[in-house]
């Protein structure tokens, strides 16, 4: 598979093997990830796929590994440490798992108090002899009570001897039924000795060995802070990313799996840039708690603000035109559409009432609910609109296929629609989270810049979204315009994410400020 080759060439084994604590000198601020924000190229996609584009401020470094890569990474580390400690690989593997793959710590403890370590890791002393099956005179298996001179038996160094059949059944139970691998103990009562891979190889059948390897790889990824499984269903890839848990307030590490899934390395939820993980968690909790209050607002039908006839939303676009009176308005704020896009109109910003109006407690609590609903409404709306955009795209795609056969347009020529649809999905995803983020932002100059970026992106998105509602026979004529609008949306998204990422990273006085209590 060529994606795997690519992966190996991007990340040398040294990078992967670099220990987690060895980069303390970086102070966790990822100074090597910093980018020039004034890069004039910002906003333009690299055409040449072979040239790796410069990383943008909101992008993090990561690598994707398939099962074979993960296996070989493990093996490399085992071999390396095995040579240092002078222990056989199967015992080294147990030791590495015992210290959660922290090589330095393992070597340190090993030099310091070898006996205690071997005991605790379930190895015990003297590891030289190879495991073997034996026939023992007068032996009675404690588990099955069978005896006889031809009974094959096995024991690890702890001396707890059982017949091969029982050992086999025991391991099958652990591996198959209980999903254990790295920490299977000797079947003897109260014995903490861990079954090593050499012994296991001798005892179990091939299919169990495969299962055992899969489970071991799983614990390897689970044990390492810089590795996570892609959460997409049935995806076998793991992502390697060096962003630390403690830096998640300053960076939002979105990673892109080979399977096509975009997710946050910090919390493994779907991509939620630009909002940091902790706010996302808070926001989702809040939405869950307040779902009943908020439900009415995200309903699919509303009344025309002018003639009050019922209007149903069936596309993603928020620019509504009443069928009856032709009044044009904004679905989100119900304001006049013609005013959107002018510098003084703010559909995205929540205007806090000042002075006397918000003085008494009741008014305050009403305002706090209004404030929440303002953001929730927009958050939910973009989520909903993304779905509707997709629906309408799928319908359009069908029509395009018909058009293709009737007008002779080639498949390549209709790809601009696909690109536009994907850009819309991605931008709406970002917009959605800008509203959750904005809910927690305190008001200052940077918040206003953030909201301006948000407004620009939103407008760009609505303009593109609107084009999908055009009749199919006009679409081919709109190709150039649509491609321009697609590029513009993408550009606005990059600008918003870059600005916000810079602000988050800088912290301190010149950054976006959260409302009090947002990060607790």
């Amino acid at each position: 598979m060529d994606s795997e080759d690519e992966v190996i060439s991007v990340a040398s084994s040294e990078e992967m093997m670099e220990d987690q604590d060895s980069d303390l000198s970086m102070g966790g601020d990822y100074s090597d990830v910093d980018l020039d924000v004034d890069d004039p190229d910002v906003g333009f996609e690299t055409q040449d796929k072979d040239i790796k584009p410069k990383r943008r401020p909101y992008e993090v470094e990561f690598n994707i590994y398939g099962p074979a890569d993960i296996q070989s990474h493990q093996d490399q580390q085992i071999d390396e440490v095995s040579a240092i400690l002078g222990q056989p690989p199967e015992a080294t593997a147990i030791l590495l798992r015992h210290t959660r793959w922290n090589k330095e710590r393992l070597i340190e403890i090993y030099m310091d108090k070898q006996d205690t370590l071997l005991e605790e890791a379930g190895l015990g002393k003297s590891l030289a002899k190879l495991p073997e099956l034996k026939k023992v005179k007068g032996f009675v298996c404690e588990i099955c009570c069978e005896d006889g001179p031809d009974l094959k038996t096995f024991s690890m160094k702890c001396g707890h001897r059982f017949c091969l059949d029982c050992y086999r059944q025991y391991l099958a139970q652990k591996i198959q039924e209980e999903g254990e691998a790295a920490r299977i103990k000797c079947p003897g009562d109260g014995c903490n000795k861990i079954v090593d891979s050499k012994s296991l190889d001798l005892l179990v059948t091939e299919d169990l060995k495969d299962r055992y390897q899969v489970l071991l790889t799983r614990t390897y990824v689970d044990d390492k802070e810089n590795l996570k499984w892609c959460p997409a269903p049935n995806c076998e890839y793991a992502v390697d990313c060096r962003v630390k848990q403690r830096d998640l307030n300053k960076t939002v590490p979105t990673v892109h799996c080979t399977c096509g899934h975009h997710f946050c390395f910090g919390c493994t939820l779907n991509d939620h840039q630009p909002a940091p993980c902790s706010l996302v968690k808070k926001w989702l909790k809040k939405c869950e708690d307040d779902s009943e209050t908020a439900n009415w607002i995200s309903a699919n039908t509303k009344e025309c603000p002018k003639c009050h006839s019922t209007i149903e939303k069936n596309g993603g676009c928020n620019h509504m035109t009443c069928r009856k009176c032709k009044h044009e308005f904004c679905w989100m704020c119900m304001g006049v559409w013609s005013e959107h896009g002018t510098s003084w109109y703010n559909c995205n910003r929540f205007e806090e009432k000042s002075g006397s109006e918000a003085r008494d407690a009741q008014a305050k609590s009403r305002q706090s609910l209004e404030r929440y609903l303002h953001y929730y409404n927009r958050y939910a709306n973009h989520e909903q609109s993304a779905k509707l955009d997709k629906d309408i795209y799928l319908k359009t795609e069908k029509k395009m296929t018909q058009l293709q056969s009737s007008s002779g347009m080639s498949w390549i020529e209709v790809q601009f629609l696909d690109a536009a649809s994907q850009a819309l999905q991605q931008c709406r995803q970002t917009l959605k989270w800008t509203y959750a983020f904005a809910y927690y932002l305190a008001r200052n100059n940077l918040t206003e810049i953030f909201e301006d970026n948000q407004k620009d992106l939103e407008l760009a998105v609505e303009n593109l979204s609107e084009m999908f509602e055009k009749p199919t026979d006009q679409l081919s004529g709109l190709k150039v315009e649509m491609m321009d609008k697609t590029a513009y949306c993408t550009r606005r998204r990059i600008i918003l994410l870059s600005d916000t990422a810079e602000n988050l990273k800088n912290g301190g006085a010149h950054s976006l400020r959260l409302r009090p209590g947002s990060f607790d």
Binding site: E142, I143, C144, C145, E146, H160, F162, C166, Q169, Y170, Q173, E177, P187, G188, D189, G190, C191
Partner: protein
């Protein structure tokens, strides 16, 4: 299906050399199902009581532990209302080298040394931690009320 040698041997031994204070008798129609009684240990709030339990050996025994449940009502932080027991050797620390007799001994020992820090019955454990004397008193009363030999 023929009974595995292991179960036959264990049953024979339980009959021939019974553990003091404990009895386990298999049902005639199901040799994997045992009627069990355990005497409350002396100097415990369960002293003087005889507790009935049911014990079942699943198909994959001894690779998996026996299933055991108290039938007699008992006030104990590691035993819940349904009589289920929280005991490490019945879960993660089970070893196929353990036997019915060792498990029953562990259960008897648990009656002598309740562990409210690893509770199964949360309300009882809470009571035990907040007011141990009162909890022990309740356990005594329950023993008198439910576990008296007929």
């Amino acid at each position: 299906m023929a009974l595995p040698k292991r179960i036959v041997k264990e049953t024979e031994r339980l009959m021939a050399e019974p553990v003091p204070g404990i009895s386990a008798v298999p049902h005639e129609d199901n040799l994997r199902y045992f009627d069990v009684t355990v005497e409350g240990p002396s100097q415990s709030p369960y002293e003087g009581g005889i507790f009935k339990l049911e014990l079942f050996l699943p198909d994959d025994y001894p690779m998996t532990p026996p299933k055991i449940r108290f039938l007699t009502k008992i006030y104990h932080p590691n035993i819940d209302k349904l009589g289920r027991i929280c005991l490490d050797v019945l879960k993660s620390n089970w070893s196929p080298a353990l036997q019915i007799r060792t498990i029953l001994l562990s259960i008897q020992a648990l009656l002598g040394a309740p562990n409210p820090d690893d509770p199964l019955a949360n309300d009882v454990a809470q009571h035990w931690k907040e007011n141990q004397n009162a909890a022990i008193q309740t356990a005594r009363e329950w023993t008198q009320q439910y576990a008296k030999p007929q």
